[in-house]
Protein backbone atom coordinates (compact mmCIF):
# COMPACT_ATOMS: atom_id res chain seq x y z
CA UNK A 1 0.00 0.00 0.00
CA UNK A 2 1.41 3.41 -0.89
CA UNK A 3 0.77 6.72 0.83
CA UNK A 4 -2.15 7.76 -1.33
CA UNK A 5 -3.91 4.44 -0.92
CA UNK A 6 -3.37 4.67 2.82
CA UNK A 7 -4.86 8.17 2.96
CA UNK A 8 -7.85 7.20 0.84
CA UNK A 9 -8.57 4.19 3.05
CA UNK A 10 -8.13 6.30 6.18
CA UNK A 11 -10.55 8.94 4.90
CA UNK A 12 -13.10 6.26 4.00
CA UNK A 13 -12.76 4.63 7.42
CA UNK A 14 -13.22 7.91 9.28
CA UNK A 15 -16.03 9.22 7.10
CA UNK A 16 -18.45 9.19 10.05
CA UNK A 17 -16.37 11.85 11.84
CA UNK A 18 -16.50 15.59 11.27
CA UNK A 19 -14.51 16.83 8.30
CA UNK A 20 -12.04 18.77 10.47
CA UNK A 21 -11.33 15.67 12.57
CA UNK A 22 -10.70 13.59 9.46
CA UNK A 23 -8.31 16.22 8.05
CA UNK A 24 -6.37 16.43 11.32
CA UNK A 25 -6.00 12.68 11.46
CA UNK A 26 -4.90 12.46 7.82
CA UNK A 27 -2.37 15.29 8.34
CA UNK A 28 -0.97 13.51 11.37
CA UNK A 29 -0.41 10.17 9.62
CA UNK A 30 0.90 11.84 6.46
CA UNK A 31 3.48 13.67 8.58
CA UNK A 32 4.53 10.47 10.34
CA UNK A 33 4.90 8.61 7.03
CA UNK A 34 7.00 11.43 5.57
CA UNK A 35 9.16 11.59 8.69
CA UNK A 36 9.75 7.85 8.48
CA UNK A 37 10.69 8.14 4.82
CA UNK A 38 13.03 10.99 5.73
CA UNK A 39 14.60 8.76 8.37
CA UNK A 40 15.47 6.28 5.64
CA UNK A 41 12.50 3.93 5.34
CA UNK A 42 10.81 3.25 2.03
CA UNK A 43 7.20 4.42 1.57
CA UNK A 44 5.92 0.84 1.85
CA UNK A 45 7.98 0.18 4.95
CA UNK A 46 6.88 3.40 6.58
CA UNK A 47 3.23 2.54 6.06
CA UNK A 48 3.68 -1.07 7.11
CA UNK A 49 5.30 0.04 10.38
CA UNK A 50 2.20 2.04 11.28
CA UNK A 51 0.41 -1.25 11.81
CA UNK A 52 -2.96 -2.37 10.53
CA UNK A 53 -5.01 0.43 9.01
CA UNK A 54 -8.23 -1.09 10.34
CA UNK A 55 -6.81 -0.83 13.85
CA UNK A 56 -5.78 2.78 13.26
CA UNK A 57 -9.29 3.57 12.04
CA UNK A 58 -11.09 1.84 14.88
CA UNK A 59 -8.79 3.39 17.47
CA UNK A 60 -9.26 6.88 16.02
CA UNK A 61 -13.02 6.40 15.90
CA UNK A 62 -13.06 5.19 19.52
CA UNK A 63 -10.93 8.02 20.84
CA UNK A 64 -12.58 10.79 18.87
CA UNK A 65 -15.94 9.37 19.84
CA UNK A 66 -14.83 9.49 23.48
CA UNK A 67 -13.89 13.11 23.23
CA UNK A 68 -17.02 14.43 21.62
CA UNK A 69 -19.88 12.04 22.27
CA UNK A 70 -22.36 14.75 23.24
CA UNK A 71 -21.52 16.96 20.29
CA UNK A 72 -22.02 14.02 17.94
CA UNK A 73 -25.31 13.13 19.58
CA UNK A 74 -26.61 16.69 19.33
CA UNK A 75 -25.62 16.72 15.69
CA UNK A 76 -27.62 13.54 15.11
CA UNK A 77 -30.67 15.01 16.81
CA UNK A 78 -30.38 18.16 14.75
CA UNK A 79 -30.13 16.12 11.57
CA UNK A 80 -33.22 14.15 12.51
CA UNK A 81 -35.16 17.29 13.34
CA UNK A 82 -34.24 19.05 10.12
CA UNK A 83 -35.39 16.04 8.14
CA UNK A 84 -38.54 15.85 10.22
CA UNK A 85 -39.26 19.52 9.75
CA UNK A 86 -39.24 19.12 5.99
CA UNK A 87 -41.70 16.24 6.17
CA UNK A 88 -43.84 18.08 8.71
CA UNK A 89 -44.04 21.26 6.64
CA UNK A 90 -44.63 19.41 3.37
CA UNK A 91 -47.39 17.27 4.88
CA UNK A 92 -49.01 20.03 6.94
CA UNK A 93 -52.04 20.65 4.64
CA UNK A 94 -53.00 17.02 5.15
CA UNK A 95 -52.12 16.19 8.73
CA UNK A 96 -52.92 19.59 10.22
CA UNK A 97 -56.55 19.46 9.00
CA UNK A 98 -56.92 15.85 10.11
CA UNK A 99 -55.40 16.64 13.48
CA UNK A 100 -57.63 19.68 14.04
CA UNK A 101 -60.81 17.75 13.15
CA UNK A 102 -59.72 14.81 15.31
CA UNK A 103 -59.12 17.11 18.28
CA UNK A 104 -62.45 18.86 17.62
CA UNK A 105 -64.36 15.56 17.51
CA UNK A 106 -62.68 14.36 20.69
CA UNK A 107 -63.34 17.67 22.45
CA UNK A 108 -67.03 17.74 21.44
CA UNK A 109 -67.45 14.13 22.54
CA UNK A 110 -66.01 14.95 25.95
CA UNK A 111 -68.09 18.14 26.15
CA UNK A 112 -71.38 16.37 25.29
CA UNK A 113 -70.69 13.61 27.79
CA UNK A 114 -70.02 16.28 30.41
CA UNK A 115 -73.29 18.00 29.40
CA UNK A 116 -75.22 14.79 30.14
CA UNK A 117 -73.38 14.58 33.43
CA UNK A 118 -74.16 18.20 34.32
CA UNK A 119 -77.86 17.77 33.47
CA UNK A 120 -77.98 14.74 35.77
CA UNK A 121 -76.53 16.94 38.50
CA UNK A 122 -79.11 19.64 37.78
CA UNK A 123 -81.98 17.13 37.97
CA UNK A 124 -80.62 15.77 41.23
CA UNK A 125 -80.22 19.25 42.68
CA UNK A 126 -83.71 20.37 41.67
CA UNK A 127 -85.27 17.17 43.07
CA UNK A 128 -83.59 17.70 46.43
CA UNK A 129 -84.38 21.42 46.48
CA UNK A 130 -87.99 20.69 45.46
CA UNK A 131 -88.47 18.12 48.21
CA UNK A 132 -86.99 20.46 50.80
CA UNK A 133 -89.20 23.34 49.68
CA UNK A 134 -92.20 20.96 49.60
CA UNK A 135 -91.64 19.84 53.17
CA UNK A 136 -91.29 23.45 54.40
CA UNK A 137 -94.44 24.53 52.53
CA UNK A 138 -96.32 21.50 53.88
CA UNK A 139 -95.62 22.65 57.43
CA UNK A 140 -96.72 26.22 56.60
CA UNK A 141 -99.96 24.90 55.06
CA UNK A 142 -100.67 22.55 57.95
CA UNK A 143 -100.25 25.46 60.37
CA UNK A 144 -102.42 27.74 58.28
CA UNK A 145 -105.21 25.16 58.19
CA UNK A 146 -105.00 23.98 54.57
CA UNK A 147 -104.72 20.32 55.50
CA UNK A 148 -105.50 18.56 52.18
CA UNK A 149 -103.33 20.77 50.04
CA UNK A 150 -100.61 20.33 52.66
CA UNK A 151 -100.80 16.55 52.49
CA UNK A 152 -100.78 16.64 48.68
CA UNK A 153 -97.68 18.80 48.77
CA UNK A 154 -96.06 16.47 51.32
CA UNK A 155 -96.71 13.56 48.98
CA UNK A 156 -95.11 15.42 46.08
CA UNK A 157 -92.14 16.42 48.26
CA UNK A 158 -91.62 12.81 49.38
CA UNK A 159 -91.84 11.66 45.75
CA UNK A 160 -89.14 14.19 44.83
CA UNK A 161 -87.00 13.10 47.76
CA UNK A 162 -87.41 9.44 46.83
CA UNK A 163 -86.45 10.07 43.23
CA UNK A 164 -83.59 12.26 44.41
CA UNK A 165 -82.23 9.49 46.66
CA UNK A 166 -82.57 6.94 43.86
CA UNK A 167 -80.76 9.21 41.40
CA UNK A 168 -78.11 10.37 43.92
CA UNK A 169 -75.82 7.36 43.53
CA UNK A 170 -76.27 7.35 39.78
CA UNK A 171 -75.30 11.03 39.55
CA UNK A 172 -72.20 10.62 41.76
CA UNK A 173 -71.20 7.57 39.73
CA UNK A 174 -71.71 9.52 36.52
CA UNK A 175 -69.53 12.45 37.67
CA UNK A 176 -66.81 10.13 38.90
CA UNK A 177 -66.78 8.20 35.64
CA UNK A 178 -66.57 11.38 33.58
CA UNK A 179 -63.83 12.90 35.73
CA UNK A 180 -61.76 9.72 35.52
CA UNK A 181 -62.41 9.41 31.81
CA UNK A 182 -61.28 12.99 31.16
CA UNK A 183 -58.12 12.63 33.24
CA UNK A 184 -57.30 9.33 31.53
CA UNK A 185 -57.77 10.89 28.11
CA UNK A 186 -55.38 13.72 28.94
CA UNK A 187 -52.82 11.33 30.42
CA UNK A 188 -53.04 9.15 27.31
CA UNK A 189 -52.50 12.22 25.11
CA UNK A 190 -49.47 13.23 27.17
CA UNK A 191 -47.98 9.73 26.99
CA UNK A 192 -48.48 9.67 23.25
CA UNK A 193 -46.62 12.97 22.88
CA UNK A 194 -43.81 11.99 25.25
CA UNK A 195 -43.45 8.70 23.43
CA UNK A 196 -43.03 10.58 20.18
CA UNK A 197 -40.34 12.79 21.74
CA UNK A 198 -38.42 9.69 22.85
CA UNK A 199 -38.33 8.24 19.36
CA UNK A 200 -37.12 11.60 18.05
CA UNK A 201 -34.13 11.48 20.38
CA UNK A 202 -33.20 8.02 19.22
Amino acid sequence: MNKNEFIIRLRQGLSSLRGADVDKSVDYYTEIIEDRIEAGQSEEEAIASLGSIDEIISQTLDETGDQAPIVEKIKNIRKMKRWEKVVLIAGSPLWLVLLISLVAVAASLIASLWAICISFCAIELSLLAGSLAGVICTFIMLFTGRMYQGLLLLGAALLCLGLGILLFKLTIQCVKLMAMGTVKTFVACKHALVGKEDTNEK
Binding site: S25, Y28, E31
Partner: protein, 107 residues
Amino acid sequence: MDIQLKRGLLDVCVLKAIKNEDSYGYQIIKDIKPFVEMSESTLYPILRRLEASELLTVRTAEHNGRLRKYYRITDLGIKRIEEFKREWQEIISIYNFVTKEDRDEQE
Protein backbone atom coordinates in the same frame (compact mmCIF):
# COMPACT_ATOMS: atom_id res chain seq x y z
CA MET B 1 -2.93 -2.65 32.49
CA ASP B 2 -5.98 -0.72 33.56
CA ILE B 3 -6.88 1.51 30.62
CA GLN B 4 -7.50 4.67 32.64
CA LEU B 5 -4.24 4.27 34.55
CA LYS B 6 -2.25 3.58 31.39
CA ARG B 7 -3.80 6.56 29.68
CA GLY B 8 -2.70 8.85 32.49
CA LEU B 9 0.81 7.40 32.45
CA LEU B 10 1.20 7.78 28.69
CA ASP B 11 -0.05 11.37 28.91
CA VAL B 12 2.79 12.20 31.29
CA CYS B 13 5.31 10.34 29.07
CA VAL B 14 4.35 12.50 26.10
CA LEU B 15 4.52 15.68 28.20
CA LYS B 16 7.99 14.68 29.36
CA ALA B 17 9.07 14.08 25.75
CA ILE B 18 8.25 17.68 24.83
CA LYS B 19 9.26 19.24 28.15
CA ASN B 20 12.77 20.37 27.24
CA GLU B 21 12.13 21.32 23.64
CA ASP B 22 9.31 21.35 21.14
CA SER B 23 8.94 18.07 19.34
CA TYR B 24 6.90 16.37 16.62
CA GLY B 25 5.04 13.09 16.34
CA TYR B 26 7.74 10.82 14.97
CA GLN B 27 10.41 12.27 17.28
CA ILE B 28 8.20 11.81 20.36
CA ILE B 29 7.71 8.14 19.54
CA LYS B 30 11.44 7.67 19.00
CA ASP B 31 12.27 9.41 22.30
CA ILE B 32 9.80 7.36 24.32
CA LYS B 33 10.62 4.06 22.62
CA PRO B 34 13.46 2.98 24.99
CA PHE B 35 11.03 3.28 27.92
CA VAL B 36 7.57 2.59 26.55
CA GLU B 37 6.50 1.05 23.28
CA MET B 38 3.96 3.46 21.81
CA SER B 39 2.44 3.23 18.35
CA GLU B 40 1.55 6.22 16.20
CA SER B 41 -2.13 5.42 16.52
CA THR B 42 -1.79 5.50 20.31
CA LEU B 43 0.07 8.79 20.31
CA TYR B 44 -2.43 10.60 18.12
CA PRO B 45 -5.40 10.61 20.52
CA ILE B 46 -3.06 11.47 23.40
CA LEU B 47 -1.81 14.56 21.59
CA ARG B 48 -5.33 15.62 20.81
CA ARG B 49 -6.42 15.07 24.39
CA LEU B 50 -3.49 17.04 25.78
CA GLU B 51 -4.18 19.85 23.33
CA ALA B 52 -7.86 19.91 24.28
CA SER B 53 -7.00 20.16 27.98
CA GLU B 54 -4.41 22.88 27.22
CA LEU B 55 -1.43 20.92 28.49
CA LEU B 56 0.32 21.55 25.18
CA THR B 57 0.01 23.83 22.19
CA VAL B 58 0.46 22.96 18.53
CA ARG B 59 2.14 25.01 15.86
CA THR B 60 2.70 24.15 12.23
CA ALA B 61 6.13 24.84 10.77
CA GLU B 62 7.72 24.18 7.43
CA HIS B 63 10.24 21.41 7.26
CA ASN B 64 11.94 20.37 4.01
CA GLY B 65 9.18 21.83 1.88
CA ARG B 66 6.34 20.24 3.82
CA LEU B 67 4.39 21.03 6.96
CA ARG B 68 5.10 19.49 10.29
CA LYS B 69 3.28 19.96 13.57
CA TYR B 70 5.37 20.84 16.59
CA TYR B 71 4.08 20.37 20.09
CA ARG B 72 5.07 22.70 22.93
CA ILE B 73 4.35 22.08 26.59
CA THR B 74 2.36 24.73 28.49
CA ASP B 75 2.76 25.81 32.13
CA LEU B 76 -0.25 23.65 32.85
CA GLY B 77 1.57 20.72 31.24
CA ILE B 78 4.65 21.26 33.40
CA LYS B 79 2.38 21.41 36.43
CA ARG B 80 0.85 18.09 35.37
CA ILE B 81 4.30 16.42 35.39
CA GLU B 82 5.01 17.78 38.88
CA GLU B 83 1.59 16.58 39.99
CA PHE B 84 2.36 13.14 38.61
CA LYS B 85 5.57 12.94 40.63
CA ARG B 86 3.65 13.69 43.80
CA GLU B 87 0.87 11.27 42.92
CA TRP B 88 3.41 8.56 42.34
CA GLN B 89 4.32 8.50 46.04
CA GLU B 90 0.69 7.76 46.72
CA ILE B 91 0.66 4.99 44.13
CA ILE B 92 3.79 3.45 45.68
CA SER B 93 2.17 3.35 49.10
CA ILE B 94 -0.94 1.78 47.57
CA TYR B 95 1.31 -0.79 45.88
CA ASN B 96 3.02 -1.51 49.20
CA PHE B 97 -0.33 -2.05 50.83
CA VAL B 98 -1.62 -4.31 48.05
CA THR B 99 1.50 -6.49 48.02
CA LYS B 100 1.92 -6.55 51.81
CA GLU B 101 0.65 -10.09 52.33
CA ASP B 102 2.76 -11.46 49.49
CA ARG B 103 5.85 -10.06 51.11
CA ASP B 104 4.79 -11.29 54.55
CA GLU B 105 4.44 -14.79 53.14
CA GLN B 106 7.85 -14.65 51.56
CA GLU B 107 9.49 -13.67 54.81
